[in-house]
Symmetry: C2
Subunit: 198 residues, 2 copies
DNA sequence: GGAAATGGTTAACGGTCATTAACTTCGGCC
DNA sequence: GGCCGAAGTTAATGACCGTTAACCATTTCC
């Protein structure tokens, strides 16, 4: 885990606020003036940091997909040889991401089409690799599961884990640790059910 | 099941195409001219059938929430007294909806904020009732599950069941029946895991 | 100490788009 | 046969919004 102590750069502030706003009201629903206002500068000042509104979205989506894949690969390298432990580790990592970066998770599957062809291709490629990583592990843990079923199950479990943004305002939740544990159990339960009766 | 034999009215055509387009590119991403073109009339002709673009979205979202809730209540009435069977029935109904009306499912949790205050309140109220219906049943089947955990689990399973739109182009799927069966098993497995180790 | 880069500002431009206006077409009905 | 309402049409309007232009402050560095 790399923890940062230095202050976030203006660029990072902008990305963070843009992510929040995009997630709340959609890419087209947010104006550049709003994004600017969220970081204390106004409208066109953003163009000192980004080529345009599209560029912000692109950087966000590529960043997300990259982080997920990188984290997944790292975990795969660490838990070398133990599929059970690796599956748990992947689930844990995805949950951390979903809980800590809700806005990004929301963007991730909502605004992909707004990207330039090249960026969209890149994001999709990263996403695909991430899914394949999961599919391989799931099939090692549950060898009876056919590949299409495994892939569908992985997508479904992503949907499950990514459901946290919908959990109303953060109030009703039983606390972060308990939520993480619950999501973990739900995910493992889903996989187990798919893998046993196939 | 009420099956219709008469031709769809122009109004229904519009709603259907609008749902598809909104789901594909987002509410703000679709112009009225496009919606019109999709049903063979052009642009402002839509205003003979709807008060405005917002009105279409409102009718779609209220319709979805209403259908889900109505269907859920009907199932609750039918499977009287047998929580296990009712849970299966609810899952089955939700899966049917997710598989048959993908665009609507997508809209359902994506564009709620675009609504007028009153419509949004109505939709949320319908959604809440639907969730509560599930929560009650889940807690009857798994009495050890505390209420907040049950509610979170229900939301998570919704995320799981609603994941079908993300399953790439309909090609890779193992056929509708098999997909439905797999989703059902995943959902039951998730609930079982949450309910046993609480 | 001055030049240049950096990060802002406000004002203007241009395009897109929902909505309205004004006008047509046509099928049913007395 | 003439009226009328329903369902369209195109053209105009007005708002919004992303982007660019032109200009200013401040820091950095030779």
């Amino acid at each position: 885990m790399v923890t940062r102590t230095d202050a976030p750069t203006r660029r990072e502030q902008i990305l963070k606020e843009a992510a929040r706003l995009f997630a709340e009201r959609g890419f087209h629903g947010v104006g550049v003036d709003e994004i600017g206002a969220a970081v204390g500068i106004s409208g066109p000042g953003l163009y000192r940091h980004f080529a345009g509104k599209d560029a912000m979205l692109a950087e966000l989506l590529v960043g997300i997909s990259g982080q997920l894949l990188t984290g997944g690969k790292r975990r795969a390298a660490e838990a070398d040889g133990d599929p059970e432990a690796l599956l748990d580790s992947l689930i844990e990592g995805h949950i951390d991401f979903a809980l800590d970066d809700r806005p990004l998770i929301t963007l991730h599957d909502r605004e992909l089409d707004r990207l330039r062809e090249s960026d969209r291709k890149l994001v999709r490629q990263l996403q695909r690799q991430y899914v394949e990583l999961w599919v391989e592990v799931v099939r090692q843990v549950y060898p009876d599961l056919a590949e299409p079923a495994a892939r569908a199950s992985v997508h479904a479990v992503f949907g499950l884990l990514n459901s946290t943004p919908h959990l109303s305002r953060p109030g009703a939740l039983p606390g972060r640790a308990a939520t993480a544990q619950l999501l973990h159990r739900l995910a493992r339960g889903a996989f187990a059910a798919a893998g046993s009766g196939a």
